[in-house]
């Protein structure tokens, strides 16, 4: 089974973000493989271990996004594809999906796995847009892969008030939540092996995409400060904090 996993290189979420004009600052900012994507890589590796096949990591981003792909390769994926092109800076969700769809179609797939949403953007529609462009069903917000036999996949799909068991034939796309598995750590051996694994870099013209297909149809017009909440009283718990909280609840008339 050939599995394509979408991965994203994002600014380290543990470092407070900064703006560069009207865009998030990315130059010179420490980047990481989106932690949400590690679940997708792990899900793919588990399926590969059960049934064989090949795991390809697919990403779009500046050249340093290759680091995120290397990270996934060191976990055990087989190869990587990075689409990088100056014309893609500031790409919206539709453009990103078109680029990833073209890259995934080029390498072929039985199953595509993505995170539910990126940790820096949270748009959360990329998986379904991608599935539509690939012409396949999508089992999004998967919290558990129940079975996958190479022709059908069955998952538990998170809903607002519970879960649904959903199945579909392959080829298909799934997006996975942080509940789906416990991502493995890259071993030293894995990190060394990753350096020798194939990582292909493609431009838009390699994918046969023209400028119309990647025209970005949204831009930041203005940034403004939101009304700030002010921090109130901060106390150290010296054993009396519970009483102080109870006073507060009484003042608020909830007890």
């Amino acid at each position: 089974m050939n599995i394509a996993v979408c991965v994203k290189h994002i600014p380290d979420p543990n470092v407070p973000p900064e703006m560069d004009g009207k865009r998030l600052k990315r130059q010179g900012v420490q980047g990481v493989l989106d932690p949400g994507d590690e679940y997708g890589v792990e899900a793919a590796l588990q399926l590969k271990e059960a049934q064989g096949g090949e795991v390809t990591l697919v990403s779009m981003g500046p050249s340093q996004a290759a680091e995120a792909i290397r990270r996934g390769l060191s976990m055990g994926a087989d190869k990587g594809v990075l689409v990088t092109d100056d014309a893609l800076a500031g790409a919206d969700a539709l453009v990103t999906a078109r680029v990833l769809a073209a890259a995934i179609k080029r390498s072929g797939f039985d199953l595509v796995i993505a995170g539910v949403e990126s940790t820096d953007g949270y748009t959360g529609t990329l998986p379904s847009t991608l599935a539509e462009l690939l012409g396949v069903p999508g089992l999004t917000t998967t919290r558990k892969v129940v079975s996958c036999d190479g022709s059908t996949i069955t998952v538990e799909r998170q809903t607002a008030d519970g879960y649904h068991v959903v199945e579909c034939p392959l080829p298909a796309l799934i997006s996975v939540t942080g509940s789906v598995n416990e991502p493995r750590y890259a071993s030293f051996k894995g990190i060394m092996a990753a350096k020798k694994k194939p990582l292909e870099t493609l431009s838009l013209s390699d994918l046969g995409l023209d400028s119309d297909g990647v025209a970005i149809k949204q831009e930041v017009a203005e940034l403004s400060k939101a009304e700030e909440r002010k921090a109130g009283e901060i106390i150290e718990d010296d054993g009396a904090a519970a009483k102080r909280i109870a006073d507060f609840l009484q003042e608020a008339k909830v007890i």
Partner: protein, 318 residues
């Protein structure tokens, strides 16, 4: 042919999804607005949608929209949009609507913006970044534009109007009936609904283990009418079901009082609770971002404070 089309979900209890009513309330300030509802119960929510400003409601009650994930609904919407030519199509930011909107974006080649918290005009939507400290105005091009709006961004108000109801007829090919729902399970939290409770008590990693969540339930019982929520970290770790999740990817709450125990205040969480009227936070780390928005912040161990607070509340309530 209205300027705006609102996609209205039928809630699991058969009522109109509240976010759709919020969207209609805002949309009618910006232009003429119609709504569309699909799946079992669609016709029965049309009246409510009309009361909140929809001029026309397109309905189709077919089971196919509930039985198969996203593809039939996206197909029906694409046909409707081509027929009606709205400039703006609005959805709620939630799991189900995101799937339909994402597919619609691909079908129409329409740009899409997610997590909007405000609508300025037919071309401009707002979103909040950096935990809500900065507002971004985003200008969208082309027609239609697709915008997904976070729940509770607007307050729903009836317009006093009523809608004409039109059956939306659409042929769904077998090719779109592939991702089939074969079982449905509910695991809703007990007690009042999180998004409606006057007091919300929530816990994060600082509670250390799943069992300690019981302390939050005890405090909720002691206060009375309080609901219990959680951060994404503990939901992902399997301590409590997703229906507890408050934040960017969960429920948005705006209670009178929000009590956060062992929650550091990641952006992911803050955007779901910063609209609370009063915020109390207990966390060991005095640098935790949650203290920047707390009206009362306690630097201390939530596991020590909780049992004392439960006793204190019980004794004061007599």
């Amino acid at each position: 042919m209205a300027d705006i089309l609102v996609y209205a979900e039928v809630g699991s209890d058969g009522s109109a999804d509240t976010t759709a009513l919020e969207l209609l309330t805002k949309a009618r300030e910006l232009g003429s607005v119609d709504a569309v509802a699909l799946g079992p119960g669609a016709s029965s929510i049309a009246e409510k949608l009309g009361e909140h400003g929809a001029g026309k409601v397109f309905v189709n009650d077919d089971d196919v929209f509930a039985d198969y994930v996203a593809q039939p609904a996206a197909e029906a919407l694409a046909q409707l949009v081509q027929q009606e030519q709205p400039q703006l199509v609005l959805f709620a930011t939630n799991y189900e609507s995101r799937d339909v909107a994402g597919r619609l974006s691909a079908k129409l080649g329409a740009t899409l913006m997610s997590n909007a918290t405000g609508l300025v005009d037919l071309d401009t939507a707002q979103t909040a970044i950096f935990g809500g400290s900065t507002i971004v105005d985003v200008k969208l091009e082309g027609s239609p534009k697709i915008v997904l709006v976070r729940p509770k961004s607007f307050v729903p108000e009836p317009s006093g109007g009523s809608a004409s109801v039109e059956q939306l007829s659409v042929e769904i090919s077998d090719d779109l009936k592939k991702a089939k729902r074969i079982e449905r399970h509910e695991e809703a939290a007990s007690g009042p609904r999180l998004d409606q409770a006057a007091v919300v008590i929530s816990g994060g990693r600082g509670l250390q283990e799943p069992d300690n969540f019981k302390l939050l339930d005890e405090l909720a019982d002691a206060i009375g009418g309080a609901a219990v929520g959680a951060t994404r970290a503990v939901v992902d770790a399997g301590w409590v079901p997703y229906s507890y999740q408050i934040g960017q990817t969960g429920i948005t709450v705006k209670p009178g009082v929000y009590l956060a125990f062992g929650i550091s205040g990641a952006t992911q969480h803050i955007v779901g609770m910063k609209g609370s009227k009063r915020i109390i936070a207990v966390n060991k780390d005095e640098e935790a971002p949650i203290f920047q928005l707390a009206d009362l912040g306690v630097v201390g161990d939530a596991l020590k404070v909780l049992p004392q607070l439960i006793e204190e509340v019980k004794s004061r309530k007599g």
